[in-house]
Symmetry: C2
Subunit: 349 residues, 2 copies
């Protein structure tokens, strides 16, 4: 069962509800958390026989907007769609959570409700970015805007384990995002982190990487603080969009360009569609106990569907549990984990 925050995102509840409907048609069980009336009205107008599909609706009286202070909102709004969905995940009423809402609030739910993996100081948002030869896994992309060097050290270990598990690369190359390749370059945080990463034996550190060379396959994992990572990710998106816009505009300003652009337009559309199909549609929150997928706030229907499918795929493969076991071993230490497990089992019994 995938719990979906029906009230999160720029086009909520329409997009989350229609996305849920789409995957339910494929047989994926979904639970929609949000305003019952609105959800039913959207479902009714989209599919008359939706009640036969594996869709559950959980009415919630509150929502968390994009403009609210994340942790405060999560603490106060007990009946918010996102909070209720996170509780369902925690109580094992759901096996994964998807939200396109306030990303800070999703992170707060991950920490305050679902809880961190033992040993992880700060959960991070990670995503693969395509490169010339494959892809590079970048983290953190926005969960922790102010970081300490030890957080970046942990991100390097988390990223390495993720890539090892996902791609089967035995010894992934880890780079640190900086304003130059030289070891003395970077903010104080980057310089301090450089020294830590260099001495960390659990990773294969290859040095600093400039954002200009991100696509040139110099590394498998890129580590940065959430602020720099978010600037990086969004500027890539913005630039890719701008370059396509610019080409289109320039071409249509000449007659011959106009004719050529008409010819290549369907080709571009096909390319774009193919590329979009490759993307996950959402990013996984790394370092929390259960699978939480953050979809883009401005997700359209196809992106949101992909985010749910991504969550479903992860859940089916038990990916998060496998990853977390590795993270516990790497970050929590074997002995400490044994003690924590014993204490937990005592409480349960």
């Amino acid at each position: 069962m995938i719990a979906i925050d029906a009230m999160g995102g720029d086009f909520a509840p329409r997009i989350p509800v229609l996305g849920a409907l789409h995957v339910a048609r494929q047989g994926i069980c979904v639970a929609l958390y949000g305003d019952e009336k609105k959800i039913i009205s959207i479902l009714d107008s989209a599919e008359k026989s939706w009640k036969k599909l594996p869709i559950t609706i959980k009415h919630c009286s509150e929502t968390i907007s994009m403009f609210e202070q994340p942790s405060k909102a999560v603490m106060r709004k007990k009946d918010a769609s996102l909070v209720r969905a996170a509780r369902a995940l925690e109580n094992e009423d759901a096996s994964a959570l998807v939200s396109a809402g306030n990303s800070g609030a999703v992170l707060a739910c991950g920490v305050l409700i679902v809880a961190r993996v033992y040993g992880v100081e700060r959960p991070a948002i990670g995503q693969f970015i395509p490169t010339k030869k494959g892809s590079i896994f970048c983290l953190d992309l926005g969960a922790n805007v102010d970081c300490k060097p030890k957080y970046l050290e942990q991100f390097a270990i988390i990223g390495s384990e993720y890539v090892r598990l996902k791609k089967g690369i035995e010894n992934p190359r880890v780079a640190l995002l900086s304003n130059g390749v030289e070891p003395y370059k970077g903010s104080q945080l980057v310089k301090d982190s450089f020294d830590l990463l260099k001495s960390q034996k659990k990773i294969n550190f290859v040095g600093n990487l400039e954002s200009r060379y991100l696509f040139d396959d110099h590394a498998d994992v890129l580590v940065c603080d959430g602020f720099a990572g978010n600037i990086l990710l969004k500027s890539i998106e913005g630039t890719a969009h701008f370059v396509m816009y610019w080409i289109g505009k320039k071409m249509s300003s000449f007659l011959i360009g106009k004719i050529l652009s008409k010819l290549i337009f369907p080709f571009f559309c096909r390319l774009r569609k193919k590329n979009e199909q490759r993307c996950a549609g959402g990013a996984l929150l790394l370092g929390v106990n259960k699978p939480i997928v953050l979809a883009h706030g401005a997700s359209d229907l196809s992106s949101f569907i992909k985010a749910i499918e991504f969550a479903y795929d992860i859940e089916q493969k038990d990916f998060v549990a496998k990853l977390n076991k590795r993270l516990e071993l790497q970050l929590g230490g074997r002995k400490k984990i044994a003690i924590v497990r014993k204490v937990k089992s005592l409480f349960k019994s």
Copy 2:
């Protein structure tokens, strides 16, 4: 006279020397600082009658590499090409300086040798980035990797004055680079700077801007710390290059795409050339007393020529003096400036 650091940059001394030769043919006076033998050998092989051109060579026994600690290198290497060129600028033997070398060292020369404008706490690197409707002036792009809110406040004033003088926009819109538009978003630095910028009456602050929307003409000036700015600038360059690479690769994987790409290739080349011609080839160091232009470390010949032409244009228009007068007024305060000028004139007499 434009002082050129002949030993700075990835392709030094070849590119700086050939760039200087090119502009000297147009009648621009240049002084090349660096290894005399190497410079003469390049000039001899490129143009037999170069001695008739307005080229001066100043032999320097040292160079500052990309891997040296900037300020230490500037302090120690008195006979480095960059240091000598900066001294020439300070002594009015040259009217502008161009270097593609270690940007930290160029900045250190700006502060330690050429000196800051009265009232400016930290010089910044600023550059126009093209947008859908025009361009946005971004600063700082790498001079100050660790900033305080008051530096960002000054960058906002410097950027506003620059845009006012360059584009004639009376009340330029100033935005702050962040990971979200909401006022509570951003690193601690950004949040603190937001409050400062909001209360600063000398600028027209329009709030936070995400890097995704950089190209959508929401602002005329974008303020950020040098680390985030550098990540932003370089990821734009890297992404634009990658998108073009990706289109080319994908198109050549189909027969019809191959034919179309052959057809549009000359068109793309023309577009690219046109766009390159619009770019300055270098960025101005803002807030120092004389014109210093930082060219890209990996500059090719045409970029380096454009950087020299940019420096020449600025010098001819007395742009830096005009800008600095405004900056002194905005940042130094009228009374204080009068005192500083009096003291200076006393020392001179």
